[in-house]
């Protein structure tokens, strides 16, 4: 369950990252429509909420939220540095 929660956090943070025009354009060389921005952001937040819900259901409210916050930190940093590496490769 922790792994699923982490995957959702990673997916959520990636979606939020790529919903930012600067990152999207840098990585895909295409422009991002406003509709797609909202869609990606909604999906990103939904993933984060889902990840938190999975962690809470597995470990209880207190430990679950603490665990998810820490997992989100790792996911976010992975996204940032992954994004940096990808943009350098391109």
């Amino acid at each position: 369950m922790t792994f699923i929660s982490f995957l959702l956090a990673l997916l959520g943070s990636n979606l939020l990252c790529y919903s930012m025009r600067r990152h999207y354009e840098l990585l895909s060389s295409r422009t991002l429509t406003t509709t797609r921005v909202y869609l990606m952001r909604s999906a990103g937040y939904a993933c984060l909420l889902g990840g938190a819900a999975v962690a809470v259901s597995a470990s209880g409210m207190g430990i679950g939220l603490t665990l998810f916050t820490a997992l989100f930190t790792v996911a976010m940093l992975s996204t940032v540095f992954g994004c940096t590496c990808l943009s350098r490769v391109r």
Binding site: T2, S13, L16, C17, M20, R22, H23, G60, M61, G62, I63, L65, T66, L67, T69, A70, L71, T73, V74, M76, L77, T79, V80, F81, C83, T84, R88
Partner: protein, 540 residues
């Protein structure tokens, strides 16, 4: 107004953090290591065998027999049974404290022992060590300072960190827009990005750890609240905790009465709480009519902090139930924050995440301090550097890299100091601080780029060398640990190796930068010489 406010906050953020950043870095590194305090203890006492797992009831029975024979007239006993795969140590530890001496100058005697759970005999530890506990306690006692001064210094630093966090959030104009922005190899910009990313990513952790750190020192910050309620009656102020929790301090009656078998209290507690929740047993005034037995429990969640069941040691009656007791809202909130700070409820995975968050917090402080120096670096001549700037740069090198060398030296000292040496634990700590002092001297005498490179290389050498020195001096080397599935020892060696390799990578990056800077200087001087000789030939 808005711009002015933000500018003021930026100023406050810069200076409130800069003046304590090195101390905060020290607190973060040593405090973060504290999440693995018992694992570090275990690595530092490789000769002590790991106890086979026995029930808490059996452990307490063995401990009582030992303590009755060896510390029967003590004021206090504490029994810590072994527990597998969790935060607690994996051996049966007993501690005791004697009655206060008649002359006030003499502190009460203290003792501790590790007991074999099979024979009940003391397990001799030939390698006396300060262990992980001293390293962890440094983050709030600062070791060489008297306790009270250490608390005050730490409290002020924590408050400044809290101010730094608040002002940092306000000062950062596009904190959520730049959530995921890190621009590599852009000099000053990259350092600011790195500082921002580390700060934003770990912001919940930083707020929690700093705010809860302040709660630990609440009586230092707000002494007037207790004084307002109790006046200057120090006895009443000391009784504040008792009034809040409803548990009065135990008082010795002087009438002897046999202490009931301690395992019966543990059985009662396990019937009430279920198995696996007993953390230890504390006995006050054993053998006295007013003896008190506290069965301490683990915090099994953030909201339910560690509590205890308190019994009369002479008649077995339950006196206080601190687990089901309804505490005032403020105390409950404080309990949750402190539980979050200590992370005692955390399993292995969450503890690693705590550790990582602590390391990232130290990274946040380090990148902020480096950014300050880079932003103010003179663009033209190195000789334009003022003493203040030079001081910050020296402190940055000696703290950010030097402290890591010093921590590594602490572990080296554990393996290299003679086993029978007097005050061996204290000398381990001295080795750490002597090494750190040498790093300061090194930072002062060497050119800055060289100092960074050499100290990073020293971190790499010290940490990569640790598994090797461990292999040379004990039987518990990495391969042995992996083969015998001793994950604590293996993880310690592996973590040292990873730390060393990361430091090596940084050192190589710095080496390349120094080489290319020197090549640039050489090319420029050669070009200047060529131009000069051309001019001479032309004039001739």
């Amino acid at each position: 107004m808005n711009g002015m406010f933000r500018q003021s906050m930026t100023w406050l953020h810069t200076w409130s953090c800069l003046i304590v950043c090195w101390l905060l870095y020290f607190m973060f590194i040593t405090g973060t290591l504290g999440y693995f305090e018992n694992e570090i203890d275990r690595w530092m006492t490789p000769e002590v065998p790991v106890a086979p797992l026995v029930s808490v009831v059996d452990s307490v029975h063995i401990a009582q027999a030992y303590l009755t024979d060896n510390a029967g007239d003590a004021q206090n006993w504490f029994i810590r049974p072994p527990k597998l795969g969790d935060r607690e140590a994996r051996n049966l530890h007993v501690f005791w404290r004697g009655l206060p001496a008649a002359e006030k100058d003499e502190p009460p005697t203290r003792g501790e022992a590790i007991l074999s759970v099979s024979s009940g005999n003391v397990i001799e530890n030939p390698r006396e060590t300060a262990g992980g506990r001293v390293l962890y306690r440094m983050h709030y006692l600062l070791h060489y300072f008297p306790n009270r001064s250490g608390y005050y210094i730490m409290a002020v630093a924590t408050m400044l960190m809290f101010i730094g966090l608040m002002t940092g959030v306000i000062a950062h104009k596009k904190i959520f827009r730049d959530f995921f922005t890190f621009r590599w190899a852009r000099g000053q910009r990259s350092w600011l990005d790195m500082h921002n990313v580390l700060s934003v990513a770990t912001l919940p952790f930083q707020f929690m750890i700093t705010y809860s750190g302040l709660l630990f020192t609440i009586s230092l910050w707000m002494p007037l609240i207790a004084l307002g309620a109790y006046g200057f009656d120090m006895d009443k102020i000391r009784g504040l905790q008792a009034e809040l929790t409803g548990v009065e301090e135990a008082v010795r009656s002087g009438e002897p009465a046999p202490l009931l078998p301690l395992h019966t209290f543990v059985q009662k507690a396990e019937e009430k709480l279920g198995p696996g929740r007993i953390r230890g047993v504390n006995v006050t005034f054993p053998g006295d009519e007013n003896s008190r037995v506290s069965v301490l429990t683990f915090a099994d969640s953030v909201g339910r902090s560690a509590g205890s069941l308190i019994y009369s040691g002479s008649n077995g009656e339950l006196q206080h139930d601190q687990i089901d007791a309804k505490l005032p809202g403020g105390l409950q909130f404080g309990g949750v924050m402190i539980a979050l700070h200590e992370g005692l409820f955390a399993g292995p995975l969450l503890r690693w995440l705590y550790f990582l968050s602590g390391v990232l917090g130290a990274g946040m402080i380090a990148t902020g301090a480096i950014y300050w120096a880079i932003k103010r670096k003179p663009k033209t001549h190195a000789s334009d550097v003022g003493p203040g700037y030079r001081f910050v740069e020296n402190m940055n090198v000696a703290t950010i890299a030097g402290l890591l060398v010093a921590v590594g030296a602490y572990f080296w000292a554990n393996r290299l100091l003679p086993l029978g040496m007097n005050d061996r634990p204290e000398w381990e700590v001295h080795c750490m601080f002597i090494t750190w002092g040498l790093c300061f001297v090194h930072a002062i005498v060497r050119p800055m780029n060289r100092a960074w490179y050499e100290q990073c290389a020293a971190v790499a050498a010290v940490f990569i060398g640790l598994p090797l020195i461990n292999a040379l001096t004990t039987d518990t080397h990495l391969i042995n640990s992996l083969l015998s599935r001793d994950w604590v020892m293996a993880a310690f060696d592996a973590t040292c190796l990873v730390t060393g390799l990361v430091a090596l990578w940084v050192a190589l990056l710095l080496r390349n930068r120094i080489d290319s800077a020197e090549a640039r200087v050489l090319m420029n001087s050669t070009a200047a010489q060529n131009v000069a000789s051309d001019e001479v030939q032309t004039s001739v």
